[in-house]
């Protein structure tokens, strides 16, 4: 695939496009990144700004395709017990983002792995990082990290595609078990990086909304629309602004949490559920399937009937790292119930 710049779709993108090149150029220094809002809702919110991205390429390795992208170095948040804001370091050149999807169905495989990014020039390693599993409003799930380059030039970037440690169901049964390394060539010029769109939302930042997903021809980590889930799916409720949808298929309880507005699936929660009528009250395991995408599930001993109550409990926050606008969401614990 050729290198292309991908812009966000929708009104926001159009407005950005009309803002004029000179203005965008003027805003491209990381020093111009607006400060984090003082008053953020404990929910998904529209960030102060959003950055476009440049595709480095895609590579198919075994049963998976890896897409690699870069943008400006980002501030982001890590989650481990508490949430920590990661500041951009002076020597960071770009934010590298990798997305991994099934080569056949193009289902994104969002797992809590930390694939290594190795950046090589003239046979020596320029930087080497284990990327964080993260979530952003314009890209959804990806593996990302700020990395250091040694100025303009051509680099080889190796990205690991690791064996997935979660349950694979349906046509994915037994897939994604091997380890591969995808190799990319990055022809980097700082001036080209500075052409990556950078857009502020001075009037709407902090609103309970989200920036639109980018409109581009690559798979994103969407949860299936409620109507496309098997069985009789119900929207159970929200915890920490994550929307939980549940259904029963072939004796298995399926729980599909997604982000509000953009509908990305949310891995990284520790979840349990109860369906009293069939005597189920236990932890859910994380799984991925071709139509269900990333979800949580458990086998039930009996088939619940319409009218039975399902309760979903968030035991721990999603441990995904977050781009701005998601760092205050998906952190609450609590239960929601609904009638199947």
């Amino acid at each position: 695939m050729n290198r292309r710049t991908f812009l966000r779709a929708g009104a926001v993108g159009a407005a950005g496009g009309l803002a004029g090149c000179s203005e965008l150029f003027a805003q491209r220094s990381t020093a111009r990144i607006p400060p984090v809002l003082d008053d953020r809702p404990e929910a998904v919110y529209r960030p102060t700004h959003i950055e476009g991205m440049e595709m480095i390429g895609t590579q198919t390795v075994g049963d998976r395709t890896v897409g690699l992208f870069y943008s400006f170095p980002h501030r982001f948040w890590t989650v481990a017990g508490d949430t920590n804001r990661v500041e951009i370091q002076d020597d960071h050149s770009v934010h590298l983002m990798a997305s991994v999807w099934d080569r056949e169905t193009e289902t994104v495989i969002p797992v809590l792995d930390q694939p290594r990014f190795t950046i090589i020039q003239d046979d020596s390693v320029v930087d080497e990082r284990r990327a964080w599993p993260m979530l952003s409003q314009n890209m959804g799930f990806h593996f990302g990290e700020n990395v250091e380059l040694d100025g303009d030039g051509t680099y080889t970037v190796e990205v690991e595609a690791l064996p997935v440690g979660i349950e694979t169901v349906g046509a994915f049964d037994g897939r994604f078990a091997a380890e591969h390394t995808a190799e990319f060539t990055l022809k980097y010029a700082e001036s080209e990086r500075n052409d990556v769109p950078f857009e502020e939302f001075p009037d709407t930042a902090g609103e309970r909304a989200a920036a639109d997903p980018m409109g581009m021809s690559m798979p994103l980590s969407y949860a299936p629309p409620v109507g496309e889930l098997p069985g009789s799916p119900v929207t159970v409720g929200s915890v920490g602004d994550a929307e939980f949808v549940a259904t029963v298929e072939d004796g298995a309880l399926i729980v599909s949490p997604r982000t509000p507005y953009n509908g990305f699936s949310i891995p990284g929660f520790s979840l349990s559920a109860a369906v009293e009528s069939v005597g189920f009250d236990d932890a859910l395991t994380d799984a991925i399937g071709p139509t269900l995408g990333a979800h949580y599930r458990a086998e039930l001993d009996g088939e619940p009937e319409s009218g039975d109550t399902v309760t979903i409990t968030v035991e721990s926050p999603s441990s995904l790292s977050r781009h701005e606008g998601y760092e205050t969401a998906f952190l609450e614990r609590g239960s929601v119930s609904a009638t199947l």
Partner: protein, 426 residues
Amino acid sequence: MAERGISRRSFAKAAVAIGGASALVACLDRGESDPIPSGPADLSTLPSRQHAWNESLPTDEHGNVRTPYHHLLLYYDYDDGETTAGATTPTNGERETVEDALRSLERAYEHSSDGLLFTVGYSRRYFDRYDDSLPESVDLPRPEALAPFEDPERDEADAVVHLASDRPAVLLEAEEALRGNRETVNNREMRAVLDDVLTFRERRTGFNGDGLPAERDDVEGVPEDAVPEDAPLYMGFTSGFRGNQATEDRVTIQTGPFEGGTTQHVSKIRLHLEQWYEQDSRSQRVSKMFCPAHAEEDRVEGAGHNLGAASGANACPAHVKDARESGVVGHAQKNATAREKGAPIMLRRDFDSTDDDRAGLHFLALQREIGDFVKTREAMNGTDAAEASSAVGTRHNNGILQYMTVLRRGNYLLPPREKRALPRPS
């Protein structure tokens, strides 16, 4: 300004890592000229266990044994040929040479961290050249990967000498003498040279002591000025608490021809601490090193010297439960499960390193059986935590696995002192 190369001060700081006669001179120039205490005339007063160091090491006010500040590993092969059964085996004359060299060191230096402590170990590959096999009382497998997510090279040199001292000059002088580059050690005669019998392969170096890693943060893998001044290791926390270390008795082989010996595991680990220091908060680091409850309740001050004689991991919730409820699980918390009747089974004598100009860790541990190490490492892998909690990944929020890569692993038998020179398997 003219090119000055490495300054004398930083050369002395890096002396053990650099090695050789000029490094020794740099150490001595730096004022390391206090007399070095010499060893006993009667060597039978020395412990019969090579690994019996604790009695000779200082302890802090909590009774924690402080490992020597500086460490050196020297790797040797007996010969270049095949090591299958029926190959050339050491002669008694060669055994005498090795023993003479080691005894020369013992006479020259006090058995202490102010003098010199050392052990000699042998790999499975060394013993494979004999027709006889090792007895069942010795558990010494060839090294192998100990996690599904690692791919280490096997270290299979025939022998490894571990030297430790608080004084860099002692290590450098002893090394030069073992290798035949000087005739005296601490003004005493070196009666034999190890290199006359063994082929030198490799040296690895390191340090463990408050402030030493902070002084040595000018290498890849650790951000500058990030390591706390009071930390003995690069990750910023103290370790080797009395309550978390196996006793020397627990790691000692109890029966058979190697009774009084022990096994040693040495892994070479690369550290990646940019994320640890630049992207994790202090609280996240405490959660990942100890457990989330230690972070929530602010139990760890600075490098954790306030914890006293134990990491306090028994005050952490069960690790699988914490993985589910906190979404993160601590290293100490996981390792606390690898115990026998409540007592630790592994004795750490690990040290950090600037070898290859990268922040690293030589994880050296003693245990009665290599199986005890494997058990401890399995606990550290946290596979059960990752399976139980969708918030914990293979490495992600799973202790400190994210910040290290195991490059090499080696297993060795440390025979009792009387059999330390090129032992037969039975």
